[in-house]
């Protein structure tokens, strides 16, 4: 049986007869675990033929905390801080997915204001996460300054989150039944002001990095995922959209109140390079920032005073059964498979489908034939967070 992805022995490089006496063999090189371009502790064993990568094997597990086992021994509320720590750059989205799974099984009604605030925080978090992706991607490719510009804007979001939830990264803000605290009018005004500045900043980033000739040369036509590859590997989020599929759960299978909102789904349109390459994946994120701003503006219009927390029993017990809930997170679709045995305070099984895990499994697919520097660009462009890969 021939499989589409090939992990067996790589083909030996053909040796030119004139240079046969110059025998060459593949060199094994470890990229990581502490490599600046891996966004965490990822080790990729690459076999190189001079500077061309012949084969790449990701070695995972350096950040493995056995979160799924922990969750089996915690009550449903106590899992939320652990879910935060999966993707620590987009903790709000992680929380929301888990909480939505519990709420579906519990049958809780979330008040309208609570739901709108969730959408707003999730979109703000998406912007913060994409800013981080933008900054670190430029950093991977050797540009240091954009990182600082991105952090300046990200800091404003984190400050708002800190005021409203009390923490800067791991919030425990979205609770079963609603959200912890309400936003004040002053904070909402600051969100509105942030949207205005962020639009300007996004233009600046595009001028500074996206359209820069050096950046384009490094990323365009590099690390191409075809659409068929994306389906085969189950890729989601910006990776799938970068390959030209106009798929977004918020649009195609709307959850929460997303069906009320008017926004576009950005896809890789090959303004530069070709569809599915690093540049298009990167540029989809920059376009998503603009769409998130659009959603936040609409939320601000729709917000009306009211309660943010629904009625939830003090001790949460779920009926026997299972649920698979997926949400659109900044890095792709996060899926939560929650199994309850009924009449128990703890989940029987909590499985997290992490988009980054899926995307990491795609690396061996694009590695063969790339230069090492291009491979660094490819690893950066799928924007993985190792906390989520290893769980």
């Amino acid at each position: 049986m021939q499989s589409r992805w090939d992990i067996g022995e790589p083909e030996k490089p053909t040796i030119n007869k004139d240079t046969e006496q110059l025998k060459s063999e593949l060199l094994t090189l470890n990229m990581g675990p502490q490599h600046p371009a891996t966004h965490g502790v990822l080790r990729i064993e690459i076999w190189t033929d001079s500077e061309v990568v012949a084969h790449a094997i990701p070695h995972l597990g350096y950040l493995h905390r056995c979160m799924e086992k922990h969750a089996e021994n915690l009550d449903y509320r106590g899992v939320i801080p652990f879910v935060d720590r999966l993707d620590y750059l987009a903790a709000m989205n992680m929380e929301w997915t888990y909480v939505a799974a519990v709420e579906k099984m519990l049958g809780t009604e979330v008040p309208r204001r609570g739901e709108l605030i969730r959408i707003m925080t999730a979109e703000l978090q998406r912007i913060a996460s994409h800013l981080m992706a933008f900054g670190t991607y430029a950093l991977d490719l050797g540009a240091f300054t954009p990182f600082l510009y991105a952090f300046e804007e990200r800091e404003k979001i984190l400050r708002l989150f800190e005021e409203v939830s009390g923490a800067r990264l791991l919030y425990n803000y979205i609770w079963i039944g609603g959200v912890w605290n309400d936003w004040t009018d002053e904070q909402l005004a600051r969100v509105s002001a942030f949207c205005d500045t962020m639009e300007e900043e996004a233009k600046k980033y595009n001028e500074l990095v996206s359209m820069n000739k050096i950046f384009v040369q490094r990323t365009a036509n590099v690390g191409i995922f075809s659409l068929q590859d994306c389906f085969d590997y189950g890729a989601t989020g910006p990776v799938l959209r970068g390959s030209g599929m106009k798929w977004d759960l918020r649009k195609n299978a709307p959850y929460s109140l997303y069906s009320e909102f008017d926004f576009d789904v950005p896809v890789g349109e090959a303004e530069l390079g070709q569809v599915g390459d690093c540049w298009n994946r990167y540029y989809v994120r920059m376009k998503e920032v603009i769409q998130s701003i659009r959603i936040i503006r609409q939320v601000l219009e729709k917000l009306e005073p009211g309660s943010v927390m629904g009625k939830v029993p003090k001790v949460i017990k779920l009926p026997k059964g299972e649920v698979y809930m997926r949400h659109e997170c900044p890095r792709g679709e996060l899926g939560i498979h929650l199994v309850s045995e009924g009449d128990s305070k703890q989940p029987y099984r909590l499985k997290v489908k992490s988009p980054c895990f899926t995307h990491t499994s795609m690396l061996p697919r694009i590695a063969p034939g790339q230069m090492i520097a291009d491979f660094v660009a490819s690893v950066g462009s799928i924007d993985i967070v190792l906390g989520e890969v290893d769980r």
Binding site: W5, G234, S361
Partner: protein
């Protein structure tokens, strides 16, 4: 489940894959929980092949493979999805493995490349072997780790490569005493509540 009539799907599977014996499990409250389709473990390869290639209800992507340890039996859940702008679909496909000591099921890597890492993770966490998997190694735990952490009867090994796991010298016995006390309080309170 999104846009999938599980009864119709089970019928389709039964009609096209002989011996698959697809049964639908519907939860008590259909709004709260998801229903799923269980098939024979020995037929999973052809069932997945059918799901991928059929014309009526194709699934072009495998989202995740998740294992569940029900103590008496093991379960492998395949979350299938169809990325399509007009007609998106998703559903849970399950196989039951009654052999707990040496569970094994056919690998589906040849249909979905996504299954490569996912099956390795299920093997790592539950000890379920996937036949014909091209790269059957552990993925998150070290290669020489003993035991499968997410099984319900898992006990951490005492010794790993000559290093003690949870050595006494590094355990905080003072805290342990606290925890014991705390457990006692918990039990007393629960008894009181009843």
């Amino acid at each position: 489940m999104l846009n999938v009539d599980v009864n119709k799907l089970a019928e389709l599977i039964n009609k096209n894959v002989p011996g698959a014996n697809a049964t639908v499990s519907v939860p008590e409250d259909i709004k709260k929980c998801d229903s799923s389709v269980t098939v024979e473990a020995s037929k999973i390869y052809s069932v997945v092949e059918f799901l991928k290639t059929n014309k009526e209800m194709p699934f072009n992507s495998l989202q995740v493979i998740s294992g569940v340890d029900w103590v008496e039996w093991m379960e492998v859940c395949y979350m299938m999805a169809h990325f399509d702008l007009q007609n998106p679909r998703e559903f849970i496909l399950k196989v039951k493995l009654t052999d707990r000591v040496n569970p094994s099921v056919d690998s589906i890597v040849h249909h979905y490349a996504a299954a490569n890492f996912q099956e390795r993770e299920v093997y790592d966490m539950f000890g379920i072997r996937f036949n014909n998997h091209p790269d059957h190694r552990r993925i998150l735990c070290p290669d020489d780790w003993q035991g499968y952490p997410l099984r319900k009867d898992y006990v951490a090994q005492k010794d790993y490569n000559g290093m003690a796991v949870y050595p006494d010298s590094k355990m905080n016995f003072e805290d342990r005493e606290f925890i014991v006390r705390q457990d006692m309080i918990k039990k007393a309170q629960e008894a009181k509540a009843q």
